[in-house]
Amino acid sequence: MSMIEFRNVQKFYGKFHALHDINLKIDRGETVVLIGPSGSGKSTLIRTINQLESIEGGQLIVNNRDLSDPKTDTNLLRRDVGMVFQHFNLYANKNVLENIMLAPRIVSRMPEAENKQRALELLKMVGLADKAENMPCQLSGGQKQRVAIARSLAMRPKLLLFDEPTSALDPEMIDEVLQVIKKVTTDSDMTSLIVTHEMGFAKEVANRVIFMDQGHIIEDDASRDFFQQPQTERAQQFLSKIIAH
């Protein structure tokens, strides 16, 4: 049973064709990395999965819900789909603990004691148990992103989306965040989709790599195959450029 299924999905921004006829199936439990040059549609693709972006054609099924059907309840869908953003998007008016506890409290009405216990466990898991009472502005970028990951797990999602989770971080903070993502994605039977430019990390965590360019999926390989021997010239070019740095 697949977790995500794109069938001939199209996306436009005005006249700009952002996603061309996307066909893609991701099974439950898979960890998939999405790579490609900027402007290739990776972020757009990942954002259609929790309906932060609408689609203009084709069919998109996520966790057995048909997103092309206007009757599909977006809010119900999103309870099962966590998202981690490039710029963290922690609630600036709430402390760390409240950031994690807000959605379980008002969306799924979790009892307060259970909610707090769960939030503290999540904070411990990302290594920030001592920051529970801090405000987001008092944290470093890496810490913010780790809190954001804890927040995305609070609703016990079945699917996690990471939209360039380390692109806004100082280099020395990237690793602490990648370690947490690795723990989250390999620990459980979680399905995850990660947009990233960290090739070493991609090689390590992904069982599958999707390479996009100009709104098309160019390659879709098992991770090992992709990094050893990309099929297309475009992917070879991309990899050689990235690795040359």
Binding site: L52, R78, H87, N89, L102
Partner: protein
């Protein structure tokens, strides 16, 4: 000046009462109407947006005195009787809510889009995300402008004097014409207005500091 306080004390207290009542009603209702108007403009409906813009532009761009005179003089001709205090307070509320709507809209728009996205991505509805995440931040941003507007509305409540609303300025006019002591009459009400506005100003400053 002391004479005015002692001779007309009760009259001044009445004036202060009406001014305070008008200001409080206006503050509460224009805050509610202003917030609702700001939120309605966030809806996707173009028609709702247009209606909000018409309301705001009309009431923001007509002098308060004209709005109040319209209510006070024209409504009784065609619809029902309306006393000066009611006409003045309704007019002031309509006028002030247009400004508050603009202030709050600018506040909402200055909250990063990522805040709403972050909240929505966890399954919150649009209104939940607004209520718990976006609006608290928007209000914090607009406290200084909101404070200004609140002080303005207290001062603008002096419009009641033109429609027999018995407020502070109305009493000052009455006292001045009775005693011919214009300087002291208006000095006294000036001081009384300060007594109303200064604490509010300080409170808004305090709130601004406390929340930042």
């Amino acid at each position: 000046m002391i004479n005015i306080f002692t001779h007309f004390g009760s009259q001044l207290v009445v004036g202060l009462g009406w001014t305070l009542l008008c200001s409080l009603i206006t503050l509460v209702f224009s805050s509610i109407i202003g917030t609702v108007l700001a939120l309605l403009q966030m809806l996707p409906s173009k028609l709702v947006h247009l209606l909000c813009r018409i309301y705001i532009e009309v009431f923001r761009n007509i002098p308060l005195l004209v709005i109040v005179m319209f209510l006070y003089l024209i409504i009784p001709l065609y619809f029902f009787k309306i006393n000066g205090f009611t006409a003045g307070t309704i007019g002031l509320t309509l006028y002030t809510s247009a400004f508050i709507a603009e202030i709050i809209r600018s506040g909402i728009q200055s909250v990063e889009a990522g805040q709403l996205e972050g909240a929505r991505s966890t399954g919150m509805t649009y209104w939940q995300a607004m209520r718990y995440v976006v609006l608290p931040q928007a209000f914090k941003i607009v406290i200084p402008s909101l404070g200004n507007q609140f002080v303005n509305l207290i001062k603008d409540s002096s419009i009641l004097a033109f429609v027999a609303g018995f407020d502070l300025l109305y009493q000052a006019n009455a006292i001045a014409s009775k005693t011919f002591d214009t300087i002291n009459s208006y000095l006294v009400v000036g001081i009384l207005y300060l007594l109303l506005t200064m604490p509010l100003s300080y409170y808004m400053h305090y709130l601004e500091k406390k929340l930042s």
